[in-house]
Amino acid sequence: MLKINNLHKSYKMGDSSLHVLKGIDLHVDKGEMVAIMGSSGSGKSTLLNIIGILDELDSGEYTLDGIEIKDLTEKKAAQYRNKFLGFVFQSFNLINFKNALENVALPLYYQGQKRKERQEKAMFHLEKVGLADWSTHLPNELSGGQKQRVAIARALAAEPKLLLADEPTGALDSATSHEIMQFLQQLNDEGKTILIVTHEEDISLMCKRIVRLKDGVIMEDKKIKQNRL
């Protein structure tokens, strides 16, 4: 599903350059649920951005579902993001003047699907996250947990191969966090490949595999017994 070989990435900071990722090797198979752990500055967000085709790698290889991700134009990158990836962010990143249904339907809009089709699919995914009754509500009328569920529905709407979650529970209380994680586990059970970036130990234990990053290298990569909710 996802293959990364000897990935390097550095950022230019004025005259000096900051070497953030120093040779990452990571293979993720279909149906895995991986937690990427690390303190801030460990490079975990950078890695996620590269995996999410939001950022470019300097050297190394990155293959997603058999397609090499390299030197893409912005247009191609956008199309791959739309086709392969679903994003869930810490701060939800919903568009606040669109209601829940419209937010979920947006990736489908960029896929060029017909309006009716979009509405139906979006409604289906909203139902899946249990928010069918809230479809016409604007994001600021929803609670944090509800917003994140709308965000997950949006990430699922385009039926991506890989779900990327950047601190999905970072802005939620523990009860709501568990609720979201439970839902992600459920999705994983259905076969969805999920990558979660987190710095919370208990969240990582709810995944099937933990990858620990420190100073731009992988310190530890182990499969664990999933803490079921």
């Binding site: 939001l54 912005e74 956008a78 199309q79 993001r81 739309n82 990143n93 568009i95």
Partner: protein, 412 residues
């Protein structure tokens, strides 16, 4: 692209982003609205004034000059000053031979007369004319015809009368053609009625030149001449040359400026045209400059909007919007704003022209006539708006997509 334009979502997105900040949208549009309003208003007024001028000049050949004899102010070749030089019919051939660039040379005679029909009578100006007058000073005939060559050759007693004369002597709707009127006790048959223009020199009644000569014993004398220049010849030069020939023929000192009087219609017209050109240039300049300022205001506001929407744009790109899709939405916003504001401007500009027309555009003393803007100009303005709107929209659009989605998402 067409699908994009008819897509309901496109317009919903547009509505959302514009209504999110109504005040800003309205203020932005005022810039363009004001620009096009000024352009339409000013162009319309300029056209109105131009129309007024051309109505006043009528169909007069505008490169014309009128010349008549006055009295000498210098003694010359044994003649005392204060002598009245005469224009003679025999001079015409010499003038024509010696001065280059003359298209028409038309002698005319005029005097005040009493006109009687039955019990109605009044005093009018009468002139003796050739058919050529109709070419220099197009007679706006309401009915009948103008004097023709036969009338002149046979000294016919026929008259062409103005609408004023007709109103004075005839009843409403009474047929004038073929009726007889008495001019200074002599019967003339009416052959035509014309509408008097503002610059119709020389009388409300026209009779054949030869008839005038005979009836009033003019002999070889001429009242004044109208000289029309060929295209490409300076009418002022022609005026000076003709005067010089006349001075020579009448033994008048070459530097005697009072011996012959003249009125140069071409010079007057040139001055008016210069004024109109200046006014039109100013109009275009002010209008377009204001329009550009307005369009820039839209660009500026969109730039701010884009900055505010950085995060939203980042989200859209993360979930699969291509840069082109982002750009076209912003450019569409820009075009939409400029066009809507432009259309409002055109409509209110039209209202202003209508208001001006009804306030100043009626009656004989009107300042302007039919203040209007050609539909082509309106079209061109709209096209300019679209082009400007697109170009100015590209600035914020490029900015929106130049930020990496990852940076946009980080922005809080």
């Amino acid at each position: 692209m067409f699908k994009f334009l008819i897509d309901k979502d496109t317009w919903q997105e547009l509505r959302e982003s514009l209504t999110k900040n109504k005040l800003r949208t309205v203020i932005t549009m005022i810039g363009v609205w004001w620009g096009i309003l000024l352009l339409i208003g000013l162009l319309g007024s300029a056209k109105g004034i131009e129309n007024k001028f051309s109505v006043q000049f009528g169909d007069y050949a505008t490169n014309s000059v009128f010349i008549w004899g006055q009295s000498t102010s210098k003694a010359f070749k044994g003649y005392q000053e204060g002598r009245r030089p005469r224009l003679k019919f025999s001079h015409l051939e010499k003038i024509k031979n010696q001065v280059k660039g003359i298209k028409f040379l038309l002698p005319r005679n005029a005097r005040d007369v009493q006109v009687v029909r039955g019990v109605q009578y009044d005093n009018f100006g009468l002139s003796g004319d050739f058919p050529l007058l109709d070419q220099i000073q197009k007679k706006n005939l309401i009915s009948g015809r103008f004097i023709n060559q036969l009338d002149v050759e046979d000294n016919k007693k026929v008259a062409v009368i103005s609408d004023d004369v007709y109103k004075q002597l005839f009843d409403i709707d009474e047929k004038a053609i073929g009726e007889f009127i008495k001019i200074n006790e002599i019967n003339y048959k009416v052959i035509g009625v014309f509408e008097q223009g503002d610059f119709d020199f020389g009388g409300e009644l026209h009779i054949p030149f030869t008839t005038f000569q005979n009836v009033y014993n003019q002999g070889d004398n001429i009242g004044w001449i109208t000289v029309t220049g060929e295209d490409g010849y300076n009418i002022r030069q022609i005026e000076n040359d003709v005067k010089l020939v006349l001075k020579n023929l009448n033994y008048v000192h070459p530097d005697d400026n009072r011996a012959f009087g003249s009125f140069n219609l071409g010079e007057l017209f040139e001055r008016f045209e210069g004024f109109l050109m200046g006014m039109q240039f100013l109009t275009w300049f002010v209008g377009i400059a204001t329009l550009i300022a307005g369009v820039f205001a839209i660009g500026n506001i969109l730039l701010i909007t884009v900055k505010e929407r950085t995060k939203e744009i980042g989200i859209r790109r993360a979930i699969g919007a291509t840069p082109f899709e982002i750009k076209r939405q912003i450019v569409l916003e820009s075009i939409f704003l400029t066009i809507i504001a432009g259309i409002f401007g055109i409509i209110s500009g039209g209202w202003i022209l209508i208001a001006m027309d009804s306030a100043f555009g009626n009656g004989p003393d009107s300042v302007l006539i039919n203040a209007s803007v050609p539909i082509l100009v309106v079209f061109i303005s709209v096209i300019i708006l679209v082009v400007f709107g697109t170009l100015i929209g590209l600035i914020p659009a490029n900015r929106a997509t130049s930020i990496k989605p990852i940076d946009a998402l980080r922005e809080e």
